[in-house]
């Protein structure tokens, strides 16, 4: 009946039972999905990005469909750190899966304060630092678009948070490697990429923008080739572990990123169209490995081109 398949990976100190996580903003804080399947099957869960205070986010309409993708300008609507600790973390703590909290701030200090608060909770296994939200001024691209500020935010968070710190990078930059290098030098234990691409859409009948914020973030299958290229560039140029994100919907999609060198992947938009997409990918990985007679997922990672 074949050997056991080992899917576990270690990403800058964060141990995952398998390399499939759910992406920030595409899984809320987990409760909703737990009404559909057992979250403990996942490699890890990443929360909606938290700011210090609660945020309503942008007014509707916040989303629209595009060809094989979608635009969102949710605007970092979230419950804020205090409510998160009181209402959401207790639920996440009980899961047998890695709990990664995503944070976003409008100042360097906000990032640091979020990290300090979360450091107190051992059940927060890692932080993902969102310096790449394309549709808010706060907590977003102003830090992620340039290597200098990106590195500084990571250094500030790293000072406060003793466990794994992941920097989430924006694809809306000329040179992703330069940004990745800066956060790596500032102590990031891993990088995750990509956040969404800046995009927009117009309704030709009403002649108005389809989302209230005008610009939104493009995600979904449409962006996968862009994400994969950026992941491969970072992997090829730097030593830091990379978590791949962007349009991953099927086992084959996830494998593309693992083969390109990502140590793990996150499933975002696909959770909307099929809540069990992450589970199907985990099952699919096992089948692929069985067929290929590979028993350790680490023997797949980064093996594109050298068979």
């Amino acid at each position: 009946m074949g050997l056991d398949i080992d899917l576990s990976v270690n990403i800058g100190g964060l141990k995952l039972k398998n390399p499939i996580m759910t992406a920030s903003g595409c899984f809320s804080y987990g409760q909703e999905a737990s009404e559909i399947f057992d979250l403990s099957l996942l490699g890890g869960v990443i929360t909606k990005s938290l700011t210090y205070l609660p945020r309503e986010g942008h007014p509707p309409p916040k989303v629209c469909e595009t060809e094989a993708g979608m635009l969102n300008a949710i605007g970092l609507s979230n419950v804020g750190i205090v409510n998160f600790l009181a209402e959401k973390l207790p639920f996440l703590e009980k899961l047998d899966t890695a709990c990664v909290v995503s944070i976003a701030g409008s100042t360097m200090d906000e990032y640091a304060r979020l990290a300090r608060k979360l450091a107190e909770h051992e059940s927060v296994h890692a932080l993902e630092v969102n310096i790449s939200c394309p549709n808010v001024n706060e907590g977003g691209l102003e830090f992620g678009a340039e290597p200098g500020p990106a590195g500084k935010v990571i250094a500030a968070v790293k000072k406060e948070f003793p466990r794994t710190v992941i920097a989430k990078l924006s694809p809306n930059v000329t040179d992703i490697v330069e940004i990745a290098e800066s956060v790596a030098d500032s102590g990031a234990d891993a990088v995750s990429l990509i956040n969404t691409l800046v995009g927009t859409a117009i309704d030709i009948n009403t002649r108005s923008f389809k989302i209230s914020n005008v610009f939104g973030g493009l995600s979904g299958p449409a962006v996968r080739p862009v994400a994969l290229a950026m992941v491969y560039k970072v992997v090829s140029n730097l030593d830091i572990p990379v978590i791949g994100i962007g349009g991953i919907s099927t086992t084959s999609d996830a494998l593309e990123f693992l083969l390109a060198g990502a140590s793990a992947v996150q499933v975002g938009t696909a959770c909307f169209i099929d809540p069990k997409a992450p589970l199907k990918i985990i099952d699919g990985l096992k089948k692929y490995m069985q067929n290929q007679k590979i028993y350790d997922i680490n023997d797949i990672i980064g093996t594109v081109g050298n068979r």
Partner: protein, 275 residues
């Protein structure tokens, strides 16, 4: 609330009027839990046209048989592809979703105001209410459409023996007038009613105004774009008034976003801030 996400077969397809179809699915888990006002998200194909699943209200559920049905109108890509699904083909269904209606309580007479394919959840609510002992003669059901060929009925609605009023904007069938017109004249006769409404946004907004003006109790079931349908994306958010602000007009200074898919699709009258 437990939700199911799986492939379920279409077991029956009926054409109720041109472009309006009734589909029955064999999905015991969903049929077993479904309550009036809840909906399902349906995806016909594993490709990405369209990307998101499409939401449809549950028209009826047969727990013992493990069946439930929807009635839908062909609009664009998602509904066209659903319409082309053959009997016994499986589609991906997530459900049951949403809060559903509070069952009617107290002695009030009810008015159901259904615009177009807003009918399904109100039929389900009426059917269950009558079965639970709510007197059918205390329910007025208004079913309206723009024109005769957009009106539809599969016989079940009439079978409930409520006061049934059909209307069309152009008078080509039933009374001439919009659902809002008919509702207004019904309320003129007897202003003490609880109103349940489902239909296009414009209709709901007008009905909400009427309910608020007359200080009645009312429930509105909304339709919004729904990327996920189960509360994780915030994409379906609508502006609502904090409870203390209901009735205030300075709406844009202080609003609270609620997700139509989990906090709704049914909202109390007065809760939603309309554009």
């Amino acid at each position: 609330m437990r939700k199911y996400s799986d492939y379920y077969p279409v077991i029956k397809k009926e054409i109720l009027s041109p472009g309006i179809l009734k589909f029955t699915f064999e999905a015991p888990e969903i049929a077993g839990l479904a309550r009036p006002g809840q909906f399902v998200q349906i995806r016909t194909s594993d490709d990405y046209f369209p990307l998101w699943p499409r939401p449809f209200s549950i028209y009826d559920a047969d727990k013992p048989k493990g069946h439930f049905s929807i009635i839908f109108k062909i609009f664009g890509c998602g509904t066209s592809r659903l319409a082309n699904t053959d009997t016994s083909d499986k589609v991906h269904i997530l459900g049951p979703l949403g809060n559903g209606f509070d069952p009617p309580a107290g002695q009030n007479k009810l008015i159901m105001a259904a615009g177009g394919v807003g009918l399904p959840p109100l039929y389900f609510l009426s059917r269950v209410s009558v079965e639970n002992g709510y007197p059918a003669e205390m329910i007025t059901f208004i079913s309206g459409a723009r024109t005769k060929k957009e009106l539809f009925e599969d016989g079940n609605l009439a079978g409930l023996n409520m006061k049934l009023i059909t209307c069309t904007d152009d008078g080509s069938a039933g009374s001439k007038g919009t659902v809002v017109d008919i509702l207004q004249s019904e309320l003129a006769d007897d202003p003490e009613r609880t109103v349940y409404a489902c239909g296009p946004g414009g209709m709901l907004k007008k009905i909400d105004m009427i309910i608020m003006a007359k200080r009645l109790r009312g429930y509105l079931s909304l339709e919004e774009l729904m990327p996920c349908g189960y509360g994780i994306c915030s994409g379906c958010a609508v502006k609502t008034r904090p409870a203390e602000n209901r009735g205030s007009t300075d709406d844009n200074r202080d609003y609270h976003l609620k997700r139509v898919c989990v906090d709704g699709p049914v909202f109390n009258s007065g809760e939603v801030i309309w554009d």
